[in-house]
Protein backbone atom coordinates (compact mmCIF):
# COMPACT_ATOMS: atom_id res chain seq x y z
CA UNK A 1 0.00 0.00 0.00
CA UNK A 2 1.55 3.25 -1.11
CA UNK A 3 0.30 5.10 1.89
CA UNK A 4 -2.91 6.93 1.22
CA UNK A 5 -2.52 9.01 4.33
CA UNK A 6 -0.06 11.26 2.54
CA UNK A 7 -1.08 13.41 -0.40
CA UNK A 8 0.97 12.28 -3.39
CA UNK A 9 -0.70 14.29 -6.13
CA UNK A 10 -0.81 11.32 -8.49
CA UNK A 11 -2.60 7.99 -8.22
CA UNK A 12 -0.83 5.27 -6.22
CA UNK A 13 1.29 2.92 -8.37
CA UNK A 14 0.34 4.79 -11.54
CA UNK A 15 1.70 5.20 -14.21
CA UNK A 16 4.75 3.08 -13.26
CA UNK A 17 2.82 -0.18 -13.50
CA UNK A 18 2.13 0.49 -17.17
CA UNK A 19 5.74 0.94 -18.22
CA UNK A 20 5.91 1.86 -21.90
CA UNK A 21 2.13 1.74 -22.27
CA UNK A 22 1.58 4.59 -19.82
CA UNK A 23 -0.31 7.57 -21.21
CA UNK A 24 -0.75 11.09 -19.86
CA UNK A 25 -3.54 11.36 -17.27
CA UNK A 26 -6.77 12.26 -19.08
CA UNK A 27 -9.86 13.86 -17.61
CA UNK A 28 -12.67 16.40 -17.87
CA UNK A 29 -12.94 20.05 -16.99
CA UNK A 30 -16.66 20.77 -16.72
CA UNK A 31 -17.19 24.53 -16.91
CA UNK A 32 -20.72 25.01 -15.57
CA UNK A 33 -20.75 28.73 -16.41
CA UNK A 34 -21.40 27.88 -20.07
CA UNK A 35 -23.63 24.82 -19.59
CA UNK A 36 -27.02 25.34 -21.26
CA UNK A 37 -28.66 22.22 -19.81
CA UNK A 38 -29.30 20.53 -23.17
CA UNK A 39 -28.48 17.06 -21.76
CA UNK A 40 -26.73 16.06 -24.99
CA UNK A 41 -24.02 14.60 -22.74
CA UNK A 42 -26.53 12.36 -20.96
CA UNK A 43 -27.94 11.12 -24.26
CA UNK A 44 -24.58 10.63 -25.97
CA UNK A 45 -23.31 8.71 -22.95
CA UNK A 46 -26.35 6.44 -22.88
CA UNK A 47 -26.13 5.73 -26.60
CA UNK A 48 -22.40 5.11 -26.82
CA UNK A 49 -22.21 2.96 -23.69
CA UNK A 50 -25.49 1.10 -24.35
CA UNK A 51 -26.85 2.03 -20.92
CA UNK A 52 -30.37 0.74 -20.30
CA UNK A 53 -33.39 2.91 -19.65
CA UNK A 54 -34.07 3.47 -15.97
CA UNK A 55 -37.64 4.66 -16.03
CA UNK A 56 -39.32 7.98 -16.80
CA UNK A 57 -40.20 10.05 -13.76
CA UNK A 58 -41.29 13.69 -13.64
CA UNK A 59 -39.69 15.08 -10.51
CA UNK A 60 -40.85 18.66 -10.67
CA UNK A 61 -37.29 19.66 -9.81
CA UNK A 62 -36.66 22.26 -12.51
CA UNK A 63 -35.70 20.46 -15.74
CA UNK A 64 -33.94 17.62 -13.91
CA UNK A 65 -35.63 14.25 -14.29
CA UNK A 66 -32.44 12.19 -14.00
CA UNK A 67 -31.91 13.27 -10.37
CA UNK A 68 -28.61 11.57 -9.60
CA UNK A 69 -25.71 9.60 -10.99
CA UNK A 70 -26.15 5.85 -10.80
CA UNK A 71 -25.71 2.54 -12.54
CA UNK A 72 -27.78 3.75 -15.50
CA UNK A 73 -26.87 7.47 -15.51
CA UNK A 74 -23.19 8.22 -15.94
CA UNK A 75 -23.78 11.89 -16.75
CA UNK A 76 -26.38 13.86 -14.83
CA UNK A 77 -27.27 17.48 -15.54
CA UNK A 78 -28.29 19.32 -12.37
CA UNK A 79 -30.63 22.34 -12.61
CA UNK A 80 -30.76 24.89 -9.79
CA UNK A 81 -33.11 27.88 -9.83
CA UNK A 82 -31.95 30.65 -7.52
CA UNK A 83 -33.03 34.13 -6.47
CA UNK A 84 -29.44 35.28 -6.60
CA UNK A 85 -27.77 37.79 -8.91
CA UNK A 86 -25.60 36.45 -11.70
CA UNK A 87 -23.04 39.22 -11.11
CA UNK A 88 -21.76 40.71 -7.86
CA UNK A 89 -20.99 44.15 -9.16
CA UNK A 90 -23.70 45.65 -11.29
CA UNK A 91 -24.08 48.93 -13.11
CA UNK A 92 -26.16 49.92 -16.15
CA UNK A 93 -27.84 46.91 -17.72
CA UNK A 94 -26.56 44.59 -15.03
CA UNK A 95 -28.10 46.68 -12.22
CA UNK A 96 -31.48 46.56 -13.99
CA UNK A 97 -31.25 42.78 -14.31
CA UNK A 98 -30.15 42.35 -10.73
CA UNK A 99 -33.05 44.37 -9.38
CA UNK A 100 -34.95 41.08 -9.54
CA UNK A 101 -32.13 38.59 -9.15
CA UNK A 102 -32.71 35.22 -10.76
CA UNK A 103 -30.24 32.72 -12.11
CA UNK A 104 -30.42 29.22 -13.46
CA UNK A 105 -27.41 27.05 -12.68
CA UNK A 106 -26.73 23.94 -14.71
CA UNK A 107 -24.00 21.43 -14.09
CA UNK A 108 -23.22 18.18 -15.86
CA UNK A 109 -22.07 15.84 -13.10
CA UNK A 110 -19.93 12.78 -13.75
CA UNK A 111 -17.61 10.30 -11.99
CA UNK A 112 -14.66 12.29 -10.63
CA UNK A 113 -11.97 9.68 -11.46
CA UNK A 114 -10.27 10.57 -8.17
CA UNK A 115 -6.52 10.53 -7.69
CA UNK A 116 -7.16 8.47 -4.55
CA UNK A 117 -10.31 6.56 -5.48
CA UNK A 118 -12.24 5.01 -2.59
CA UNK A 119 -14.12 2.63 -4.91
CA UNK A 120 -10.91 1.25 -6.35
CA UNK A 121 -9.24 0.94 -2.94
CA UNK A 122 -12.06 -1.10 -1.41
CA UNK A 123 -12.88 -3.34 -4.41
CA UNK A 124 -12.05 -6.86 -3.17
CA UNK A 125 -12.05 -8.56 -6.57
CA UNK A 126 -9.89 -6.15 -8.54
CA UNK A 127 -12.81 -5.47 -10.87
CA UNK A 128 -12.12 -1.75 -10.42
CA UNK A 129 -8.76 -0.76 -11.81
CA UNK A 130 -6.68 2.25 -12.83
CA UNK A 131 -6.23 2.44 -16.60
CA UNK A 132 -3.14 3.62 -18.44
CA UNK A 133 -4.93 7.00 -18.78
CA UNK A 134 -5.15 7.32 -14.98
CA UNK A 135 -8.92 6.82 -15.04
CA UNK A 136 -10.92 4.40 -12.87
CA UNK A 137 -12.94 1.67 -14.63
CA UNK A 138 -15.07 -1.32 -13.55
CA UNK A 139 -14.43 -4.59 -15.40
CA UNK A 140 -17.91 -5.96 -15.92
CA UNK A 141 -16.65 -9.53 -16.39
CA UNK A 142 -14.94 -9.53 -12.98
CA UNK A 143 -17.35 -7.58 -10.74
CA UNK A 144 -19.30 -9.95 -8.49
CA UNK A 145 -21.66 -7.33 -7.14
CA UNK A 146 -20.39 -7.23 -3.55
CA UNK A 147 -21.47 -3.58 -3.42
CA UNK A 148 -18.59 -2.30 -1.27
CA UNK A 149 -17.71 0.49 -3.70
CA UNK A 150 -21.24 1.94 -3.51
CA UNK A 151 -20.98 3.40 0.03
CA UNK A 152 -17.21 3.89 -0.32
CA UNK A 153 -17.60 6.64 -2.93
CA UNK A 154 -17.78 10.09 -1.26
CA UNK A 155 -19.84 11.35 -4.23
CA UNK A 156 -22.40 8.55 -4.52
CA UNK A 157 -21.40 7.83 -8.11
CA UNK A 158 -21.51 4.02 -8.27
CA UNK A 159 -24.61 1.93 -7.94
CA UNK A 160 -25.72 -1.62 -8.53
CA UNK A 161 -27.77 -2.24 -11.64
CA UNK A 162 -31.08 -3.92 -10.97
CA UNK A 163 -32.82 -5.16 -14.08
CA UNK A 164 -35.12 -8.12 -14.61
CA UNK A 165 -33.53 -11.05 -16.41
CA UNK A 166 -34.90 -11.58 -19.85
CA UNK A 167 -37.13 -14.63 -20.43
CA UNK A 168 -34.44 -16.04 -22.73
CA UNK A 169 -31.95 -16.30 -19.89
CA UNK A 170 -31.35 -19.86 -18.79
CA UNK A 171 -33.08 -20.55 -15.48
CA UNK A 172 -30.61 -21.26 -12.73
CA UNK A 173 -31.13 -24.35 -10.62
CA UNK A 174 -30.32 -22.89 -7.23
CA UNK A 175 -32.65 -20.24 -5.85
CA UNK A 176 -29.48 -18.63 -4.46
CA UNK A 177 -28.29 -17.96 -7.99
CA UNK A 178 -31.60 -16.93 -9.45
CA UNK A 179 -31.55 -13.24 -8.64
CA UNK A 180 -33.64 -11.04 -10.87
CA UNK A 181 -31.00 -8.44 -11.55
CA UNK A 182 -27.87 -7.58 -13.43
CA UNK A 183 -26.26 -7.42 -10.01
CA UNK A 184 -23.05 -5.64 -10.95
CA UNK A 185 -21.97 -2.05 -10.32
CA UNK A 186 -21.59 0.41 -13.15
CA UNK A 187 -20.18 3.87 -13.60
CA UNK A 188 -18.52 6.24 -16.07
CA UNK A 189 -15.48 4.69 -17.78
CA UNK A 190 -14.39 8.02 -19.28
CA UNK A 191 -15.15 6.12 -22.49
CA UNK A 192 -12.14 3.83 -22.08
CA UNK A 193 -12.92 2.20 -25.42
CA UNK A 194 -12.98 5.56 -27.24
CA UNK A 195 -9.77 6.68 -25.52
CA UNK A 196 -8.08 3.49 -26.68
CA UNK A 197 -9.07 4.40 -30.22
CA UNK A 198 -7.80 7.96 -29.85
CA UNK A 199 -11.24 9.59 -29.60
CA UNK A 200 -12.64 11.91 -26.96
CA UNK A 201 -15.42 10.62 -24.66
CA UNK A 202 -18.96 10.73 -26.06
CA UNK A 203 -20.23 13.42 -23.66
CA UNK A 204 -17.41 15.84 -24.46
CA UNK A 205 -17.84 15.17 -28.18
CA UNK A 206 -21.57 15.92 -27.98
CA UNK A 207 -21.35 19.03 -25.78
CA UNK A 208 -22.33 21.96 -28.01
CA UNK A 209 -20.86 24.73 -25.81
CA UNK A 210 -17.64 23.01 -24.71
CA UNK A 211 -18.86 23.12 -21.14
CA UNK A 212 -17.39 19.61 -20.99
CA UNK A 213 -13.76 19.82 -22.01
CA UNK A 214 -11.64 16.70 -22.38
CA UNK A 215 -7.86 16.62 -22.25
CA UNK A 216 -4.73 16.06 -20.19
CA UNK A 217 -5.50 16.82 -16.56
CA UNK A 218 -2.48 19.08 -16.04
CA UNK A 219 -3.38 21.18 -19.04
CA UNK A 220 -7.08 21.31 -18.08
CA UNK A 221 -6.17 22.57 -14.61
CA UNK A 222 -4.19 25.40 -16.16
CA UNK A 223 -7.09 26.24 -18.49
CA UNK A 224 -9.53 26.17 -15.55
CA UNK A 225 -7.43 28.61 -13.52
CA UNK A 226 -7.41 31.05 -16.43
CA UNK A 227 -11.16 30.70 -16.90
CA UNK A 228 -11.75 31.30 -13.17
CA UNK A 229 -9.60 34.45 -13.25
CA UNK A 230 -11.62 35.73 -16.22
CA UNK A 231 -14.99 35.14 -14.52
CA UNK A 232 -13.73 36.80 -11.34
CA UNK A 233 -12.56 39.78 -13.31
CA UNK A 234 -15.94 40.02 -15.04
CA UNK A 235 -17.65 40.08 -11.64
CA UNK A 236 -19.58 36.77 -11.77
CA UNK A 237 -21.28 35.76 -8.53
CA UNK A 238 -19.49 32.90 -6.76
CA UNK A 239 -17.22 31.20 -9.31
CA UNK A 240 -14.88 28.58 -7.84
CA UNK A 241 -12.97 25.50 -8.92
CA UNK A 242 -14.08 22.21 -7.38
CA UNK A 243 -11.72 19.25 -7.39
CA UNK A 244 -8.80 20.99 -9.10
CA UNK A 245 -6.63 21.01 -5.96
CA UNK A 246 -4.23 18.01 -5.73
CA UNK A 247 -4.07 18.54 -1.94
CA UNK A 248 -7.77 17.90 -1.27
CA UNK A 249 -9.14 14.79 0.48
CA UNK A 250 -9.10 12.64 -2.66
CA UNK A 251 -5.88 14.06 -4.13
CA UNK A 252 -7.75 16.07 -6.75
CA UNK A 253 -10.26 14.86 -9.33
CA UNK A 254 -9.45 13.62 -12.80
CA UNK A 255 -12.80 15.17 -13.75
CA UNK A 256 -13.17 18.52 -11.99
CA UNK A 257 -15.55 21.47 -12.18
CA UNK A 258 -15.99 25.20 -12.25
CA UNK A 259 -19.05 25.92 -10.08
CA UNK A 260 -20.98 29.12 -9.39
CA UNK A 261 -22.09 28.29 -5.84
CA UNK A 262 -21.23 26.01 -2.92
CA UNK A 263 -20.77 22.35 -3.99
CA UNK A 264 -23.71 21.14 -1.86
CA UNK A 265 -26.06 23.35 -3.90
CA UNK A 266 -25.36 21.00 -6.81
CA UNK A 267 -25.57 17.90 -4.60
CA UNK A 268 -21.78 17.59 -4.27
CA UNK A 269 -19.91 17.07 -0.98
CA UNK A 270 -18.05 20.22 0.19
CA UNK A 271 -14.98 18.38 1.54
CA UNK A 272 -14.81 14.85 0.11
CA UNK A 273 -12.24 12.52 1.69
CA UNK A 274 -11.29 9.05 0.45
CA UNK A 275 -12.36 6.61 3.21
CA UNK A 276 -9.04 4.76 3.05
CA UNK A 277 -7.23 7.90 4.21
CA UNK A 278 -8.02 6.76 7.75
CA UNK A 279 -7.35 3.08 7.10
CA UNK A 280 -3.80 2.75 8.52
CA UNK A 281 -5.05 4.02 11.87
CA UNK A 282 -8.24 1.98 11.55
CA UNK A 283 -6.28 -1.24 10.99
CA UNK A 284 -4.11 -0.48 14.03
CA UNK A 285 -7.24 0.06 16.10
CA UNK A 286 -8.72 -3.18 14.73
CA UNK A 287 -5.60 -5.13 15.73
CA UNK A 288 -5.88 -3.74 19.26
CA UNK A 289 -9.58 -4.59 19.40
CA UNK A 290 -8.83 -8.13 18.19
CA UNK A 291 -6.18 -8.49 20.89
CA UNK A 292 -8.70 -7.21 23.44
CA UNK A 293 -11.17 -9.93 22.38
CA UNK A 294 -8.49 -12.60 22.92
CA UNK A 295 -7.40 -11.17 26.28
CA UNK A 296 -10.99 -10.63 27.38
CA UNK A 297 -12.00 -14.21 26.61
CA UNK A 298 -8.86 -15.55 28.33
CA UNK A 299 -9.64 -13.44 31.39
CA UNK A 300 -13.08 -15.07 31.59
CA UNK A 301 -11.33 -18.34 32.44
CA UNK A 302 -9.69 -16.92 35.57
CA UNK A 303 -12.68 -17.72 37.78
CA UNK A 304 -12.55 -21.48 37.08
CA UNK A 305 -14.85 -23.77 35.15
CA UNK A 306 -18.04 -23.09 37.10
Amino acid sequence: MTTLAEPTGSPAAWPDTYGDEAKPRMGFFTDTSICIGCKACEVACKEWNLIPDDGLVWTGESYDNTSHLGANSWRHVAFVEQRKPLFVTGDGDRAAIDAEPLRWLMESDVCKHCTHAGCLDVCPTGALFRTEFGTVVVQEDVCNGCGYCVPACPFGVLDKRDLPRSPDDAPLALPLLGKQEDGRVWKCTLCYDRLKGGHEPACAKACPTDSIQFGEVDELRERARKRLAKLEQEGWNGPRLYGADPDDGVGGFGAFFLLLDEPEVYGLPPDPVVPTKHLPRLWASTALAAAAVAVGVAAAFLGGAE
Partner: protein, 328 residues
Amino acid sequence: MTDRTPIEESRPLTDGRPGGTTSWKGSVTELGSRMDSYYGRPIVKEPVWQPEIPFYFWTGGIAGASSVLHGVARLTGNHRLAKTSLLIGAAADVVAPALLVSDLGRPERFLNMLRMFKVTSPMSVGSWILFVSGGASTTAALLELAGKLRPVKWAAEVASALAGPPLATYTGTLIANTAIPVWSEARDELPWLFGASATATAGAAAAIATPLGAAGPARRAAVAGSAAALGLAELMEHRLGFVGEVYKQGEAGRYGRIAKAATTAGAALLATRGRRSRAASVVGGALVLAGELALRWSVFKAGFQSARDPRYTVIPQKERLRARKGEA
Protein backbone atom coordinates in the same frame (compact mmCIF):
# COMPACT_ATOMS: atom_id res chain seq x y z
CA MET B 1 -37.07 -0.98 -14.04
CA THR B 2 -35.73 1.70 -11.75
CA ASP B 3 -32.48 1.35 -9.94
CA ARG B 4 -33.92 1.83 -6.51
CA THR B 5 -37.11 2.98 -4.84
CA PRO B 6 -38.21 6.41 -6.00
CA ILE B 7 -36.76 9.09 -3.80
CA GLU B 8 -40.20 10.20 -2.67
CA GLU B 9 -40.74 6.84 -1.00
CA SER B 10 -37.40 6.76 0.73
CA ARG B 11 -37.59 10.25 2.12
CA PRO B 12 -37.26 10.02 5.87
CA LEU B 13 -39.97 11.59 7.97
CA THR B 14 -38.56 11.34 11.45
CA ASP B 15 -39.40 13.24 14.58
CA GLY B 16 -41.67 15.46 12.54
CA ARG B 17 -38.73 16.73 10.51
CA PRO B 18 -38.83 16.11 6.78
CA GLY B 19 -35.33 14.82 6.13
CA GLY B 20 -35.25 15.42 2.44
CA THR B 21 -37.38 18.27 1.23
CA THR B 22 -36.62 21.77 0.15
CA SER B 23 -38.45 23.12 3.17
CA TRP B 24 -35.30 22.98 5.23
CA LYS B 25 -33.14 24.51 2.54
CA GLY B 26 -30.86 26.99 4.21
CA SER B 27 -32.02 26.02 7.65
CA VAL B 28 -29.82 26.76 10.60
CA THR B 29 -28.83 23.54 12.28
CA GLU B 30 -27.89 22.79 15.84
CA LEU B 31 -24.28 23.50 14.94
CA GLY B 32 -25.05 26.85 13.42
CA SER B 33 -23.97 25.83 9.91
CA ARG B 34 -26.08 27.02 7.05
CA MET B 35 -26.45 24.64 4.19
CA ASP B 36 -28.34 24.30 0.96
CA SER B 37 -29.05 21.01 -0.66
CA TYR B 38 -29.92 19.77 -4.11
CA TYR B 39 -33.68 19.27 -3.64
CA GLY B 40 -32.89 17.46 -0.39
CA ARG B 41 -31.40 14.57 -2.33
CA PRO B 42 -28.73 12.35 -0.76
CA ILE B 43 -25.09 12.93 -1.69
CA VAL B 44 -23.59 9.55 -0.79
CA LYS B 45 -25.42 6.44 -1.96
CA GLU B 46 -27.18 4.22 0.51
CA PRO B 47 -25.49 0.81 0.70
CA VAL B 48 -26.96 -1.87 -1.56
CA TRP B 49 -26.42 -4.56 1.05
CA GLN B 50 -29.37 -6.79 1.93
CA PRO B 51 -30.44 -8.10 5.37
CA GLU B 52 -27.93 -10.95 4.95
CA ILE B 53 -25.19 -8.53 5.93
CA PRO B 54 -26.23 -7.66 9.53
CA PHE B 55 -27.00 -11.36 10.03
CA TYR B 56 -23.50 -12.09 8.78
CA PHE B 57 -21.97 -9.54 11.17
CA TRP B 58 -23.71 -11.38 13.99
CA THR B 59 -22.90 -14.91 12.72
CA GLY B 60 -19.29 -14.02 11.89
CA GLY B 61 -18.93 -12.51 15.36
CA ILE B 62 -20.19 -15.72 16.97
CA ALA B 63 -17.81 -17.77 14.79
CA GLY B 64 -14.79 -15.59 15.55
CA ALA B 65 -15.17 -15.28 19.30
CA SER B 66 -16.26 -18.95 19.64
CA SER B 67 -12.94 -19.98 18.09
CA VAL B 68 -11.11 -18.00 20.77
CA LEU B 69 -13.32 -19.41 23.53
CA HIS B 70 -12.63 -22.90 22.20
CA GLY B 71 -8.87 -22.31 22.01
CA VAL B 72 -8.53 -21.03 25.58
CA ALA B 73 -10.87 -23.76 26.90
CA ARG B 74 -8.65 -26.39 25.26
CA LEU B 75 -5.52 -24.86 26.79
CA THR B 76 -7.02 -24.73 30.28
CA GLY B 77 -8.31 -28.29 30.04
CA ASN B 78 -12.03 -27.43 29.98
CA HIS B 79 -12.72 -29.90 27.19
CA ARG B 80 -16.50 -29.87 27.61
CA LEU B 81 -16.66 -26.14 26.89
CA ALA B 82 -13.99 -26.51 24.18
CA LYS B 83 -16.10 -29.03 22.29
CA THR B 84 -19.29 -26.98 22.53
CA SER B 85 -17.70 -23.76 21.35
CA LEU B 86 -15.81 -25.58 18.58
CA LEU B 87 -19.10 -26.93 17.22
CA ILE B 88 -20.91 -23.59 17.60
CA GLY B 89 -18.04 -21.79 15.89
CA ALA B 90 -17.93 -24.30 13.05
CA ALA B 91 -21.69 -24.09 12.51
CA ALA B 92 -21.51 -20.28 12.41
CA ASP B 93 -18.53 -20.53 10.07
CA VAL B 94 -20.62 -22.59 7.65
CA VAL B 95 -23.58 -20.20 7.72
CA ALA B 96 -21.47 -17.02 7.43
CA PRO B 97 -20.09 -17.50 3.89
CA ALA B 98 -23.50 -18.70 2.67
CA LEU B 99 -25.00 -15.39 3.83
CA LEU B 100 -22.25 -13.44 2.08
CA VAL B 101 -22.53 -15.34 -1.18
CA SER B 102 -26.28 -14.90 -1.15
CA ASP B 103 -25.86 -11.12 -0.86
CA LEU B 104 -23.64 -10.86 -3.94
CA GLY B 105 -25.15 -9.43 -7.10
CA ARG B 106 -23.42 -12.27 -8.97
CA PRO B 107 -23.27 -15.14 -6.46
CA GLU B 108 -21.75 -17.50 -9.03
CA ARG B 109 -18.67 -15.26 -9.02
CA PHE B 110 -18.05 -15.56 -5.28
CA LEU B 111 -14.59 -17.05 -5.85
CA ASN B 112 -13.49 -13.71 -7.35
CA MET B 113 -13.17 -12.62 -3.70
CA LEU B 114 -9.99 -14.69 -3.58
CA ARG B 115 -8.53 -13.29 -6.82
CA MET B 116 -6.28 -10.99 -4.83
CA PHE B 117 -5.32 -9.84 -1.35
CA LYS B 118 -5.73 -6.09 -0.82
CA VAL B 119 -4.97 -4.39 2.50
CA THR B 120 -6.83 -1.29 1.30
CA SER B 121 -10.02 -3.37 1.20
CA PRO B 122 -11.23 -4.71 4.55
CA MET B 123 -13.61 -6.88 2.55
CA SER B 124 -10.69 -8.54 0.76
CA VAL B 125 -8.80 -9.06 4.04
CA GLY B 126 -12.00 -10.30 5.65
CA SER B 127 -12.67 -12.79 2.86
CA TRP B 128 -9.28 -14.36 3.51
CA ILE B 129 -9.82 -14.35 7.28
CA LEU B 130 -13.19 -16.04 6.82
CA PHE B 131 -11.66 -18.49 4.36
CA VAL B 132 -8.97 -19.52 6.89
CA SER B 133 -11.30 -19.49 9.88
CA GLY B 134 -14.08 -21.37 8.12
CA GLY B 135 -11.75 -24.00 6.70
CA ALA B 136 -9.92 -24.52 9.98
CA SER B 137 -12.88 -24.64 12.33
CA THR B 138 -15.01 -26.93 10.17
CA THR B 139 -12.02 -29.26 9.68
CA ALA B 140 -11.38 -29.31 13.43
CA ALA B 141 -15.07 -29.90 14.21
CA LEU B 142 -15.41 -32.77 11.74
CA LEU B 143 -12.25 -34.43 13.02
CA GLU B 144 -13.43 -33.94 16.62
CA LEU B 145 -16.71 -35.68 15.81
CA ALA B 146 -14.94 -38.43 13.88
CA GLY B 147 -12.23 -38.78 16.53
CA LYS B 148 -9.51 -39.17 13.92
CA LEU B 149 -6.24 -37.54 12.74
CA ARG B 150 -5.39 -35.81 16.04
CA PRO B 151 -2.33 -33.87 14.76
CA VAL B 152 -4.33 -32.40 11.88
CA LYS B 153 -7.13 -31.50 14.29
CA TRP B 154 -4.65 -29.72 16.56
CA ALA B 155 -3.24 -27.71 13.69
CA ALA B 156 -6.74 -26.79 12.53
CA GLU B 157 -7.70 -25.74 16.06
CA VAL B 158 -4.68 -23.47 16.33
CA ALA B 159 -5.42 -21.85 12.96
CA SER B 160 -9.07 -21.38 13.88
CA ALA B 161 -8.21 -19.78 17.24
CA LEU B 162 -5.75 -17.38 15.59
CA ALA B 163 -8.25 -16.34 12.89
CA GLY B 164 -10.97 -15.82 15.51
CA PRO B 165 -10.15 -12.36 16.92
CA PRO B 166 -9.73 -10.67 13.51
CA LEU B 167 -12.93 -12.35 12.28
CA ALA B 168 -14.76 -10.93 15.31
CA THR B 169 -13.57 -7.36 14.71
CA TYR B 170 -12.91 -6.74 11.00
CA THR B 171 -16.58 -6.24 10.13
CA GLY B 172 -16.54 -3.03 12.17
CA THR B 173 -13.50 -1.93 10.16
CA LEU B 174 -15.28 -2.78 6.92
CA ILE B 175 -18.22 -0.47 7.47
CA ALA B 176 -16.09 2.26 9.10
CA ASN B 177 -14.04 2.37 5.89
CA THR B 178 -16.85 3.96 3.83
CA ALA B 179 -18.21 7.43 3.12
CA ILE B 180 -21.36 6.73 5.18
CA PRO B 181 -21.25 9.49 7.83
CA VAL B 182 -22.50 7.53 10.84
CA TRP B 183 -20.08 4.66 10.14
CA SER B 184 -17.06 6.63 9.01
CA GLU B 185 -17.18 9.07 11.91
CA ALA B 186 -17.40 6.13 14.36
CA ARG B 187 -14.20 4.52 13.08
CA ASP B 188 -12.54 4.69 16.51
CA GLU B 189 -15.36 2.70 18.12
CA LEU B 190 -16.79 0.26 15.55
CA PRO B 191 -14.10 -2.49 15.59
CA TRP B 192 -14.20 -2.43 19.40
CA LEU B 193 -18.00 -2.44 19.52
CA PHE B 194 -18.22 -5.36 17.10
CA GLY B 195 -15.48 -7.22 19.00
CA ALA B 196 -17.34 -6.78 22.29
CA SER B 197 -20.61 -7.82 20.68
CA ALA B 198 -18.94 -10.92 19.21
CA THR B 199 -17.54 -11.89 22.62
CA ALA B 200 -20.97 -11.46 24.19
CA THR B 201 -22.72 -13.63 21.60
CA ALA B 202 -20.10 -16.41 21.57
CA GLY B 203 -20.23 -16.53 25.37
CA ALA B 204 -24.03 -16.53 25.37
CA ALA B 205 -24.28 -19.31 22.78
CA ALA B 206 -21.81 -21.49 24.69
CA ALA B 207 -23.57 -20.75 28.01
CA ILE B 208 -26.81 -22.06 26.50
CA ALA B 209 -25.26 -25.27 25.18
CA THR B 210 -22.82 -26.18 27.96
CA PRO B 211 -23.65 -27.89 31.30
CA LEU B 212 -23.40 -25.52 34.30
CA GLY B 213 -20.25 -27.18 35.64
CA ALA B 214 -18.19 -26.18 32.60
CA ALA B 215 -19.98 -23.01 31.46
CA GLY B 216 -18.44 -20.48 33.87
CA PRO B 217 -16.00 -18.86 31.42
CA ALA B 218 -18.68 -18.67 28.70
CA ARG B 219 -21.07 -16.94 31.09
CA ARG B 220 -18.45 -14.46 32.23
CA ALA B 221 -17.46 -13.74 28.62
CA ALA B 222 -21.12 -13.10 27.79
CA VAL B 223 -21.59 -10.73 30.73
CA ALA B 224 -18.33 -8.83 30.17
CA GLY B 225 -18.89 -8.64 26.40
CA SER B 226 -22.44 -7.35 26.91
CA ALA B 227 -21.30 -4.71 29.36
CA ALA B 228 -18.52 -3.59 27.02
CA ALA B 229 -20.88 -3.49 24.01
CA LEU B 230 -23.46 -1.44 25.93
CA GLY B 231 -20.80 1.02 27.05
CA LEU B 232 -19.18 1.29 23.63
CA ALA B 233 -22.52 1.86 21.88
CA GLU B 234 -23.22 4.67 24.33
CA LEU B 235 -19.74 6.15 23.79
CA MET B 236 -20.11 5.92 20.00
CA GLU B 237 -23.45 7.75 19.97
CA HIS B 238 -22.07 10.42 22.27
CA ARG B 239 -18.91 11.00 20.22
CA LEU B 240 -20.84 11.09 16.94
CA GLY B 241 -22.55 14.26 18.13
CA PHE B 242 -24.94 15.68 15.55
CA VAL B 243 -24.61 12.68 13.21
CA GLY B 244 -25.36 10.31 16.11
CA GLU B 245 -28.97 11.49 16.23
CA VAL B 246 -29.85 8.84 13.61
CA TYR B 247 -29.44 6.29 16.42
CA LYS B 248 -32.46 7.90 18.07
CA GLN B 249 -34.61 7.81 14.93
CA GLY B 250 -36.44 5.26 12.82
CA GLU B 251 -35.39 1.65 12.67
CA ALA B 252 -31.88 2.32 14.01
CA GLY B 253 -33.48 3.82 17.11
CA ARG B 254 -36.02 1.03 17.51
CA TYR B 255 -33.45 -1.77 17.19
CA GLY B 256 -31.01 0.17 19.35
CA ARG B 257 -33.55 0.29 22.18
CA ILE B 258 -34.31 -3.43 21.78
CA ALA B 259 -30.57 -4.14 21.84
CA LYS B 260 -30.06 -2.22 25.07
CA ALA B 261 -33.06 -3.75 26.84
CA ALA B 262 -32.46 -7.36 25.77
CA THR B 263 -28.70 -7.30 26.33
CA THR B 264 -29.03 -5.68 29.75
CA ALA B 265 -31.72 -8.13 30.88
CA GLY B 266 -29.86 -11.16 29.50
CA ALA B 267 -26.50 -10.18 30.99
CA ALA B 268 -28.12 -9.41 34.36
CA LEU B 269 -29.85 -12.79 34.38
CA LEU B 270 -26.62 -14.61 33.48
CA ALA B 271 -24.67 -12.71 36.14
CA THR B 272 -27.14 -13.27 38.97
CA ARG B 273 -28.78 -16.65 38.32
CA GLY B 274 -26.73 -18.24 35.54
CA ARG B 275 -24.40 -20.06 37.92
CA ARG B 276 -27.12 -22.08 39.64
CA SER B 277 -29.89 -22.44 37.10
CA ARG B 278 -29.59 -23.95 33.64
CA ALA B 279 -32.93 -22.41 32.71
CA ALA B 280 -31.65 -18.95 33.64
CA SER B 281 -28.52 -19.58 31.54
CA VAL B 282 -30.61 -20.53 28.53
CA VAL B 283 -33.00 -17.57 28.83
CA GLY B 284 -30.19 -15.11 29.64
CA GLY B 285 -28.05 -16.41 26.78
CA ALA B 286 -30.94 -16.16 24.33
CA LEU B 287 -31.63 -12.59 25.43
CA VAL B 288 -27.99 -11.60 24.89
CA LEU B 289 -27.96 -13.25 21.45
CA ALA B 290 -31.16 -11.44 20.48
CA GLY B 291 -29.92 -8.13 21.90
CA GLU B 292 -26.66 -8.28 19.98
CA LEU B 293 -28.46 -9.20 16.76
CA ALA B 294 -30.60 -6.11 17.29
CA LEU B 295 -27.41 -4.07 17.82
CA ARG B 296 -26.03 -5.19 14.45
CA TRP B 297 -29.36 -4.28 12.84
CA SER B 298 -29.35 -0.89 14.51
CA VAL B 299 -25.84 -0.06 13.27
CA PHE B 300 -26.71 -1.36 9.77
CA LYS B 301 -29.89 0.70 9.52
CA ALA B 302 -28.22 3.81 10.96
CA GLY B 303 -25.87 3.74 7.97
CA PHE B 304 -28.77 3.86 5.54
CA GLN B 305 -30.53 6.60 7.47
CA SER B 306 -27.44 8.79 7.63
CA ALA B 307 -26.76 8.33 3.91
CA ARG B 308 -30.34 9.28 3.00
CA ASP B 309 -30.17 12.76 4.53
CA PRO B 310 -27.58 15.09 2.99
CA ARG B 311 -27.24 17.08 6.22
CA TYR B 312 -25.19 14.28 7.77
CA THR B 313 -22.82 14.34 4.82
CA VAL B 314 -22.57 18.09 4.36
CA ILE B 315 -22.54 19.56 7.87
CA PRO B 316 -19.57 17.59 9.31
CA GLN B 317 -17.64 18.42 6.12
CA LYS B 318 -18.46 22.13 6.38
CA GLU B 319 -17.45 22.12 10.03
CA ARG B 320 -14.18 20.48 9.01
CA LEU B 321 -13.57 23.11 6.34
CA ARG B 322 -14.33 25.89 8.78
CA ALA B 323 -11.98 24.43 11.39
CA ARG B 324 -9.23 24.16 8.78
CA LYS B 325 -9.76 27.74 7.68
CA GLY B 326 -9.60 28.81 11.32
CA GLU B 327 -6.23 27.10 11.71
CA ALA B 328 -4.77 28.54 8.54
